[in-house]
């Protein structure tokens, strides 16, 4: 079984004013199978660009990316990116034509989408649309799950609930997962391993493993973890 190996040596964009804009410096990390990693960094540090490179949507960079196994991807973009002219269920089935009816039903039930299967995305709230995007990513039974700020612009309560649902799905069926976020608490709540990125051009400034299993973290442990992160970032 291959693991996720990311080694981007350099990535730049052509700036509108001419010249090149460096987005990613030398950035390398790897993630074991079934591990959940979180890339944490300030807005605009190149997190989304990195995710696009890993997803194979951007091939114009120096370096290499090795995907786990056959590299079957499940991606949750920042916006839900559902097809507005297809129902929620059709959206999921089009991405995962091989998924069985039972698997989909279980997935819809776990995400509270059972009653909304036949609705069009325009009839869904943002929270439901994000759940639909999660359902689509899980339905393909991915070997690598990529999540780009999946809870951004949701209210705190809803974001927390969705985070718990996601944690439960990942625990039930372990899948190598890479989460991109600027929210440290969100990262601690979900990930086994945190990678802190510098401002652009991005590189990894600290790697923090989170040892305990996700569901057993207490408030004290989280506080201790946050203190450790602050210390490590202070050194970097």
């Amino acid at each position: 079984m291959r693991r996720l190996e990311v080694d981007v040596r350099h990535k730049s964009f052509a700036a509108a004013s001419g010249g090149r804009l460096d987005v990613i410096g030398s950035l390398a990390f790897s993630l074991g199978n079934g591990e959940v990693g979180a890339l944490v960094g300030p807005s605009g540090c190149g997190k989304t660009t990195l995710l696009r490179i890993i997803a194979g949507l951007d091939r114009d960079y120096d370096g290499s990316v090795t995907l786990p196994d056959h590299g079957r991807l499940g991606v949750v973009f920042q916006e839900p990116r559902l097809l507005p002219w297809r129902t929620l269920e059709q959206n999921v089935r089009l991405a995962a034509p091989d998924a069985s009816d039972e698997a989909l039903t279980a997935l819809f039930r776990a995400l509270g989408l059972d009653a909304h299967r036949q609705l069009f995305p325009g009839e869904l709230s943002l929270g439901l649309a994000r759940r639909a995007a999660l359902a689509r990513a899980f339905a393909v039974e991915p070997e690598l799950l990529l999540l780009d700020e999946p809870f951004v612009s949701l209210d705190d309560t809803l974001a927390m609930r969705l985070r718990d649902e996601l944690a439960e799905l990942v625990t039930r069926r372990p899948v190598t997962t890479l989460l991109v976020t600027h929210n440290v608490d969100e990262a601690i709540g979900l990930a086994d391993r945190l990678f802190f990125l510098s401002a652009s051009p991005a590189r990894v400034i600290a790697e923090v493993p989170v040892a305990r299993p996700r569901e057993k973290r207490t408030a004290e442990e989280l506080a201790a973890l946050r203190a450790e992160i602050a210390r490590k970032l202070g050194q970097a």
Binding site: R52, A55, L57, L73, V75, F77, G122, R136
Partner: protein, 247 residues
């Protein structure tokens, strides 16, 4: 629906008043005279025969122009090289008068059915291409990325991702295209076909038979109205069913 009927009745009334005012049935016959002639032509079967001939030319030329024009427009909207290559051709075709294309087609290919249909299709094709090109330029890259990461095959992408985005542009091209095509088909028939609505209007013109001209023009307009109501509009409604309803 009631507003439509009132509007239609008003049109007939205006026509009737105009005929009374003109006072000469050779210049502007009243609605009744035209209705009688329409019944006559329908009974003898010539109306159905000529309508059928024109309608089949419209259908074939329209289908050809939409199919090829849309494919060209999609490619030009999608690939910059195709756009740069095809643009001069489009500009030439768009600005070539319909009459020139028709006359040249008849000279080069003879007074044949093929020449007639190609001439009509060539007139419509660039308009379809230009409209669909705008649609292809506006395709959502985010959905494209989505289709790529989920490894959708080419057929699924075309049918579920690309075509629904192009639907409003295809509908606009079809709408304007249908009315344009049947007008050009009439000219093609007038100039070089032995049957069809255009041919009948041509002979009526030589005899200054305004009643006959109106009979054929209105009969064919009615056919197009039926197509619009029972074919185009239901298809549009089906394609737009996911959109939130307008108040």
């Amino acid at each position: 629906m009631a507003i439509r009927l009132v509007s239609f009745a008003l049109l007939i009334a205006a026509w009737y008043a105009g005929a009374q005012f003109a006072g000469d049935a050779r210049v502007l016959p009243g609605p009744w005279a035209v209705a009688l002639m329409m019944a006559d032509e329908a009974r003898s079967g010539t109306l159905a025969f000529n309508l059928g001939a024109t309608l089949s030319r419209v259908a074939i030329a329209f289908a050809l122009a939409m199919l090829i024009g849309s494919a060209i427009g999609w490619a030009m909207g999608r690939y910059r090289t195709a756009d740069r290559f095809g643009d001069p051709w489009l500009i030439v075709l768009l600005n070539l008068p319909a009459l020139v294309i028709i006359v040249l087609a008849y000279i080069w290919a003879g007074l044949t059915e093929t020449a007639a249909i190609i001439a009509v299709a060539l007139n419509k094709l660039p308009i379809a291409a230009v409209t669909v090109r705008e649609g292809a330029r506006a395709l959502d890259r985010g959905l494209d990325d989505m289709a790529q990461v989920f490894r959708m095959n080419a057929l699924t992408r075309m049918r579920h991702v690309v075509l629904p985005q192009l639907a409003p542009y295809l509908a606009a091209a079809a709408r304007s295209g249908l009315s344009l095509v049947w007008k050009i088909v009439l000219i093609v028939e007038l100039l070089g076909r032995p049957n069809g609505v255009g041919f009948e209007i041509g002979t009526a013109f030589q005899l200054f038979d305004v009643t006959k001209i109106l009979t054929y023009a209105l009969a064919f307009t009615a056919v197009m109205l039926v197509i619009e109501t029972f074919l185009v509009q239901p298809v549009e409604r089906h394609v737009a069913r996911w959109r939130p309803k307008a108040a």
